[in-house]
């Protein structure tokens, strides 16, 4: 049986304020999964996690989300300059609380279609959120780099951890 769920890279934030930058992502897998266990450093209870592919800062991203924060809501946003995963705990959250986001990126290495990702994010602190997202990156380029963080695509608390997994179909 082929090995189908393999860690490509993992990184733990060493100092407050840093973000993640996964580079030289090989094209040899079918799908990618990025698992984020994180807390931000921005001075608020929560702050939105976001990222970019291939350092593309153009307004080439969009999302639709369904979420709960005490009420059930759905929103969408077009022509954003990052992909979005929803709120993660930040500096004013209860101590020792980290959130999680599991980001699935399908057919990431193809050079024909735009890239779709599904996101499931959970944050439970004095303000609590359950998110599910679909994001779109309107690019036919193969994904070879992912940057991710909170404010300014960095601003993560030391001890936050992210792992990029490769999933191979065969």
């Amino acid at each position: 049986m082929p090995l189908t769920y393999e860690p490509i890279a993992t990184a733990t934030i060493a100092s407050d304020g840093q973000g993640w930058d996964f580079t030289s992502i090989p094209s040899t897998y079918t799908d990618l999964r990025l698992v984020v266990y994180g807390r931000g450093t921005y001075a608020s209870t929560t702050f939105g996690g976001s990222g970019r592919f291939n350092n593309d800062s153009g307004t080439n991203y969009s999302y639709t989300r369904l979420f709960s924060d005490g009420s059930a809501q759905s929103q969408r946003n077009a022509n954003t300059d990052t992909f979005n995963v929803g709120e993660l705990p930040s500096a004013n959250a209860t101590a020792n609380v980290f959130g999680q986001a599991v980001i699935d990126i399908f057919n990431y290495a193809n050079t024909t279609t735009y890239k779709t990702l599904l996101v499931r994010t959970s944050t439970m602190t004095s303000t609590s959120y359950t998110f599910t997202y679909v994001n779109l990156w309107r690019s036919t380029a193969a994904i070879n780099r992912i940057t991710f963080g909170t404010a300014g695509l960095n601003s993560m608390k030391a001890g936050s951890m992210a792992t990029l997994y490769g999933i191979k179909a065969a």
Binding site: L3, V35, Y37, S122, T123, S128, T130
Partner: protein, 173 residues
């Protein structure tokens, strides 16, 4: 390179049913935990709750935030100060369609750390009959710095035969 999605243990309920499903002596050598549960109980309703407790520790350390769809509307519920992590209406009960078992998927990152434990879960007890069914996405927290070494699942009713649960370990290296 290592294959990192590994089955730690599987429980399959036998012919006599079971009042709980337990995973014990969970090693601390993985990064994250995943649980896949297929379940149905003897509770005399369409649905039953599922409750998860770590390390035999109750108190008021569990909380959760749910996003639930019942086929006609979406709802949000937040509960805090609980003795367990409750999955609301995620198991098929005794009056639901025969042979129907629910799916529950749980993700627990960094379970062996000294931070509080983040929980994400999805659950569905589809039924194909009149009456309300639910799909629920949840965020949760166990406010404990202890590493998770055991997991206990209970419901209002007993788990019926063929209910199964598998605990997987995810390693990031």
């Amino acid at each position: 390179m290592a294959n990192t999605f590994k089955a730690i243990a599987t429980v399959t309920v036998g012919s006599g049913g079971a009042s709980s499903i337990d995973f014990t002596s969970i090693p601390s050598t993985y990064t994250d935990l995943v649980i896949k549960l297929s379940g149905r109980t003897t509770n005399a309703n369409l649905q039953d709750y599922l409750a998860m407790q770590f390390n035999g520790s109750g108190g008021t350390a569990y909380s959760h935030s749910d996003l639930t769809g019942n086929g006609s509307s979406a709802q949000s519920t937040i509960q805090t100060g609980l003795d367990r992590y409750y999955f609301t209406y995620v198991l098929n009960g005794a009056t639901s369609t025969s042979n129907t078992f629910s799916n529950v998927d749980v993700y627990i990152p960094n379970y062996a750390s000294s931070n509080y434990k983040s929980i994400s879960s999805d659950g569905v007890p589809e039924n194909n009959t009149t009456g309300i069914t639910y799909t629920t996405l949840s965020a949760g927290l166990w406010s404990s710095t202890a590493a998770i070494t055991s997991i206990n699942f209970v419901a209002s009713g007993s788990f019926v035969q063929y209910s199964t649960a598998t605990l997987y370990g995810i390693k990031n290296s």
